[in-house]
Every structure is written in C-alpha cells, then in structure tokens.
Amino acid sequence: MKKIAILILLLLMCKSIFAQEKRAKKTEIPDKMTDFIKKTYPNHSKLKFYKELKNDTLHFESTFCSNKNEYTLSFDKIGNLEEIEVTLSFEKIPVEIKQKIKNYLKNNFLTFKIKKTQEVDLKGVLLYEFAIKAKRKTEKKTTEKGFYEIYFDRNGDFIKIGILKLNTIQSLF
C-alpha cells in the first residue's frame, strides 16, 4: 500500500517534469516560501526562484546552495512546501542502507556506476534518487548499457526505475 502511494507520488512528480518553468521575480514569491528558506537554510547562497504551471496550477521552485549541498525546493502557490531535493555524495548514506542499495544494484545490473545521488522529501515521503550508468541483461539475454533513474526508500528498499532517454548533443554545422 505504501509502495503504491509512493508510486502515485512519483508519477505525479514525473508529470511535473513536462510542465513549463520560468524565472520568477522576488515580488511574485509568497512570503511564506521566502521565510521558510531564510529560517531553515540561513547560510544559503545562489538563491533563484522559478514558477511553473502544473495541470493549470501555479507552483514555485527555488534552487540554492547551503553547506556545500545543492537544494531544489518546490512549493504550492501559497508557499506550502511540497518537495525537497538535496544532492549529496553516495558515501554519506548510512552504511547499512548503502550496502542494501549496492546489493540491489549488484543483483540487477552486470555493472553500474552511480553518477548522482539525491535525498528526496516528497510531502513527507523520504526517498533516495540515483542517476546511474549501468549494464544489464535484457529479456532476450543480450546485454544493454544505459542510463537509469532509480528510487529507493530511506530503508534502502527498491521503489521504481526509469530509463533515461539519450539525446544528441546539438551543434551547428
């Protein structure tokens, strides 16, 4: 049941990827949102605000650095916190959980390399999100190299995996 709830939340989160986000002026930002950032992250720097329409509803996002970590916070239109994403080093995850995640990756991939680790707090649901480069066996028993986004809960239990679509790096002439 918990997993289904998390999956629904993740689906909603993925949908928001396709929403359009634009830079927002400070005057457009709800006070509640700026107060929260000031209080919770007093040492923040490089603060930027964005606004986006998700299913015709206005949402705000802020990105900043604090204590050498990169943060992305999402808020609703009146400044209620919806999601926190923090980029961190894989090594900072507690040893037991790290081992559990590594075991899952070892059992499901022939080779893997963790490219990015994020702690996600999605309306109180705590997750880890990893971007990995990995090789795995396909159903046809051939090997396939790819880039994946993979989610675990904070106990190190697998939640969801998605393959990242590779795009051509654009250049003219």
Binding site: Q20, I163, L166, I169, Q170, F173
Partner: protein
C-alpha cells in the same frame, strides 16, 4: 574629432588596398533535422546555402552577388552518454553552385563532442577531423586535404532553467579551423564566430537567427576574407518510427 575619423577611415581604406582583404555581406539559411535510429544511434541531416547579397568591385575585380556555397551534410551519431557523442559523415559541398565556375567537394569527417553544464549554461566542445576531396577543374582531379576543427559553444535558456516550449534561448560558438595537409593557404586557415537568438516552437522545432562572422585566409599572401552573415536555422528533432516506447 573629424580629423581622427578621417585618419581612421584612411588607414582602413589604405590597408584594404595593400592587403587586398575582402569583406562580404550575406545570408545563410539552414535546416537541421535530428532523428532516432536506435536508443544509442541518431541521424542528423543538415543542409545550408551561403549567399553573397551585394555585388562589389575590388581592385578592378568584380564580385557579383550570388550563391556561394551549397552544403549537404548527413551524419550518423553514436551517443555514448548524455555528455559524450561521436559521429561521422559524408558531406557534399558545391562552391558557386549556380555558376559555370563551380567546384565540387566530397568530404568525410569524424567527430567527438563533449557537453557539460555550469549553472544554466550548457557548454559543448567539438573536435572534428576532415578528409576533403576538393575538385580541381583544371586537372579534373580531387586531391586530398585534411583539416582539424575545434568548436567551443555555449547555450543558455533565457526563461528558466531548461528550454521549454515557447521560450527563447541564446546560442554562441567559436570554431577554429586548422588545415593540416594538402593544398592550404595557412595552417590556422579559418575562424567562425556566431551569436544567435533562438525560439522553441515545441513540436515544430526551434528557429534560430544570428550573426555569423566567417574569417578565412584567402591566398598564400595571407590576405583575408571576412564574410558577415545573417544565419537562420530551423532545427527539428523528431523520429519517423511509429513504435511506442517500452516503459518499465
């Protein structure tokens, strides 16, 4: 003030006569279509033409306004990762395509392109090695010449962290051309600088317009040719496959 302006004009005018440098003004319309072949392999089809818009006579030599170059470049791209691609191509170029003094060029090239992000900017570094077979209309031969190019580019969305539909972006690059073997006027033989403003129409692709300065060494005396161009590029990215993507 008038005297200074006159002296500046005179010095530019005199250096032009002495050096026989040439300056042209024109337009460069281009189309670039990228599509998927497999998860890892894409194709790109790029076509452009370079048009000199104004007739001029320099040192009794006439340079009529005309189409100077037709460029057709299909290529195959292998995507190692989101930040590393390689590609190869057979490219056809025809100089003065609509005139009797045309010259064909058949070109093979291989390239590596590396991309990285810094804040909102996306930087790319592109190294391309070319084997050029340029037609000599006198001998009717296609002697081989090789060239190495390095392009450094930056791309920045202007409305938000990522480029979404109905948003503007900036694109700029500088490309250095080094002629290595074969007939050449100089080793550092060309330099292209570009700054463009683009708009993302979504499914219809992106339309980009900008200023391109092509600087090239035109003879063994190291005289230069400056080509000031307004480049307009329609960039599309779609696949013809009707297969639905398998989701996990």
């Amino acid at each position: 003030m008038k005297k200074i302006a006159f002296l500046m004009f005179l010095s530019v005018f005199l250096s032009e006569i002495k050096a026989q440098n040439l300056t042209f003004y024109g337009v460069l319309p281009a189309i670039s279509q990228t599509g998927r072949i497999t998860e890892r392999i894409d194709y790109n089809f790029f076509v452009s033409t370079t048009i000199d818009m104004f007739s001029q006579t320099v040192n009794n030599q006439a340079f009529p306004a005309r189409d100077l170059q037709l460029y057709i470049q299909p290529s195959i791209i292998y995507k190692f990762s989101p930040n590393l691609n390689t590609s190869f191509s057979y490219t056809y170029q025809r100089n003065n395509p609509l005139s009797d003094d045309y010259a064909n060029e058949h070109r093979l090239w291989q390239q590596v392109i590396f991309g990285h992000n810094a804040q909102k900017l996306r930087f790319t570094h592109r190294v391309r090695f070319e084997e050029r077979f340029i037609e000599n209309r006198v001998t009717n031969m296609y002697p081989l010449a090789t060239r190495l190019r390095y392009q450094f580019a930056a791309n920045m969305p202007l409305q938000g962290k990522t480029l979404d539909k109905n948003e503007f972006y900036l694109n700029t690059y500088n490309e250095f051309y080094f002629s290595l073997t074969g007939i050449k006027n100089a080793t550092y033989s060309e330099n292209w600088s570009y700054l463009g403003l683009g708009y993302n129409f979504g499914k219809m692709g992106r339309l980009e317009m900008g200023y391109l300065l092509q600087f090239s060494v035109r003879n063994m005396q190291k005289d230069i040719r400056m080509f000031n161009l307004v480049q307009t590029t329609w960039i599309t990215n779609f696949s013809f496959s009707l297969k639905k993507k398998k989701k996990e």
